[in-house]
Amino acid sequence: MKSAVIVFPGSNCDRDIQVALRASTGHEPAMVWHDDSELPDTDLIALPGGFSYGDYLRSGAIAAHSRIMDDIVRRARDGTPVLAVCNGFQVAVEAGLLPGALLPNAGLNFVCHDVHLRTEQAGGLFAGHYQKGQVVRFTVAHHDGNYYIDDDGLAALEDNGQVAFRYCTPTGETGGEAGNGANPNGSRDDIAGIYNESKTVLGLMPHPERLADPRLGGDDGKAMFDSLVDALG
């Protein structure tokens, strides 16, 4: 499996996802500069976390207009899988690859800690190693992770099975938006990650690459990269 990690000015989890991809795929990911016009031949595009362009406008808004984004949007529409994590999720939303918006956290502070996620859709490219309902532990680190979508959009996500993960308690109960402490940012309906309609693009605020190594306190995230390798060869 070949992978490409996009490096925007201000990306800072590009190396982290590079390490996780290298460990699972056994191949060196291509690090692609934001100002390039064309991606290399790749089976997966990774949009990493960070503060692209300082996030001085709206998070991800400027990066969504980088030169490389035209080719990314084209390839994504043609079916090349995209893993968009944290700032990458914000970029993907701004670029129109995923619906909704990411608002400042309800508590107005940056939050960094482990979160529990309930797997809402098992199988597919990204969640082939997770069971439906399985609780996994990733890490959040963001200021603008409060996922919002209007009523119609939310209904469409539900109908199409596009909600990938929800914030939950360690035993799998959602309801964090209502105040059980599981939802770190006020996201609507506890949504932590969503797919596009064809489930080839995954946007995720929590970082799978940060808990992909037992040395760092857990490896639930590694299963996502391993699933991609199984699906994409």
Binding site: G10, N12, G54, F110, V111, H113, R210, L216, G217
Partner: protein, 659 residues
Amino acid sequence: MTPGMTGDTPRPNDLMGLTDSEYDLAVDIMGRVPNHTELGIFSVMWSEHCSYKSSKKWLKKLPTEADWVICGPGENAGIIDIGGGKAAVFKMESHNHPSFIEPYQGAATGVGGILRDVFTMGARPVANLNALRFGHPDHEKTRHLVAGVVAGVGGYGNCIGVPTVGGECTFHESYNGNNLVNAMTVGVADADRIFYSAAAGLGNPVIYAGSKTGRDGIHGATMASAEFDDDSDAKRPTVQVGDPFTEKLLLEACLELMATDAIVAIQDMGAAGLTCSSVEMVDKGGLGIELDLDAVPRRETGMSPYEVMLSESQERMLMVIHQGREDVARDIFEKWGIDFAIVGKLTDTGRMVLVADGEVVSDIPVTPLVDASPEYDRRWTPSLPPAPLDGDALKPPDSIGDSLLTLLASPDICGKRWVWEQYDHMVMADTVQRPGGDAAVVRIHGSNRGLAMTTDCTPRYCAADPHMGGAQAVAESFRNLTATGARPLAVTDCLNFGSPENSHVMGQFIGCTEGISEACIALDMPVVSGNVSFYNETNGSAVQPTPAIGAVGLIDDLDRTATTALTNPGDRLVLIGDTAGHLGASLYAREVHRTEAGAPPPVDLGAERRNGDFVRGLIAAGQVTVCHDLSDGGLLVAVAEMCLAGDLGATLEARPADA
């Protein structure tokens, strides 16, 4: 000659912080009356912040050498050999005054400045720590300051993508008018690719890279060299404004350029901006410099030479590169979208000549500016150690359980999760032990080895007995590193005190420094970098003496470490070291009995070392996997913290007095 006159010209009314005698010395060096720009340069170079004029004499006594020290004090940061061809580069620095005036930007630029000190030397920063001291939680300003400082620390570190893994956050009314913000960065470099600041090579071009120069932070170093009064808010324009995004680009561009052979010398523009960086580079190289101020990238029009030279705009680097390599450097900085300009060249005149609009606007001999800087032997009075607190003076509490709850709920001991969860402490994916333990552990990227790091100081002890308090701060850092299984290697010190012109404060400074020195020698932890911050006082009321120690240790095998969290029911707890029942200057006495009286517990450095080496050996042998040092709150709080971290309970057996 009329008093107050120099030759025929009266002294100006505004000496920009220089004393009369310092001004006269500047006139002597110049052989004439310095103009406005030149006076500004003398003023910042001779400020306490830049010249260490009150502390130099005493800092010379600190131990700075060991076989593993690659670079001690005097450069941007200290460097130690950590094996495997790698070096750890680290320093802690204060940003107290700006953070009190404008907490968000003051703290943010403190983090930005210390990061630059580390990557200037060729290291990739791998961790930040912050030692924060605030006034009493009930004081009207505290909440505003805490919120601003924590957001500023996070805002900068989170954006640039360096994990903030540890530090301290404590409260005491002596900081009501002067909070302390001490930022530490640890970086890792290839031991054979380290960059220094000494300029070399006649005719080599001087390069400016980074943010444009604006009117922010002018005379910040001078501001940080004076105490506060009721009008300190008016000093807000002397605070710099941070841009972590630009710093991230500057970091990556510098590391990319450092992988080539273009750079001769490099120095970041921190305190006193372009002035201090250029003077230090050419002084260390024994050369002269000519700067074309019109070439300096600017944020605003109409800036005077004085403003350009004294601006402390952030995220800027000055470097000397080999002639003919200008295009290599330009290409890299342009790729990263960073301003790049050739602003001057090295000369053999020994003078710093500034040219603007084709005219020489300043011409100062470099060596006298640096070497003739004032050095003071300030008057000092030793602090007499207080009498030990009579144990009977404190009535035993009715309930030990209630006392424990009081201690655990006190602002100094209670969990600081609410602080460090606002910091990204896991970016870079090498944080092995997160904040909340004795020391943070960060993996050396791509290896199975790690660096342990901590900041420590107990100002209560330093106030009661400066010598013992200074030694205790080093001993606690040694203990905290040891508790993770790390071998302590070296320290950086950030010495925060009131006015050195007060003999009592000067006595505290000397006492603490001597204590640090004694402990560093006994524990084999040389001081490789550091910073002094005086004038932490408002309307004559000084902070408690706070010599913060930042310490770094090495873990050879990440499979052999310890954490504070109890893991297995049935395990036995063993207490190492003597318990003599010291309650003087304790947190227990302060929180439960409302007294800070008494002498601090004496530090037995020999026992400290023996016990530490013994415990470290047990951890390395795999016999101990859970370990916690005893500090504020003593044994009971330590055990409670171990239980809370592991979500387990413990039963303690009181040993009979005669056993």
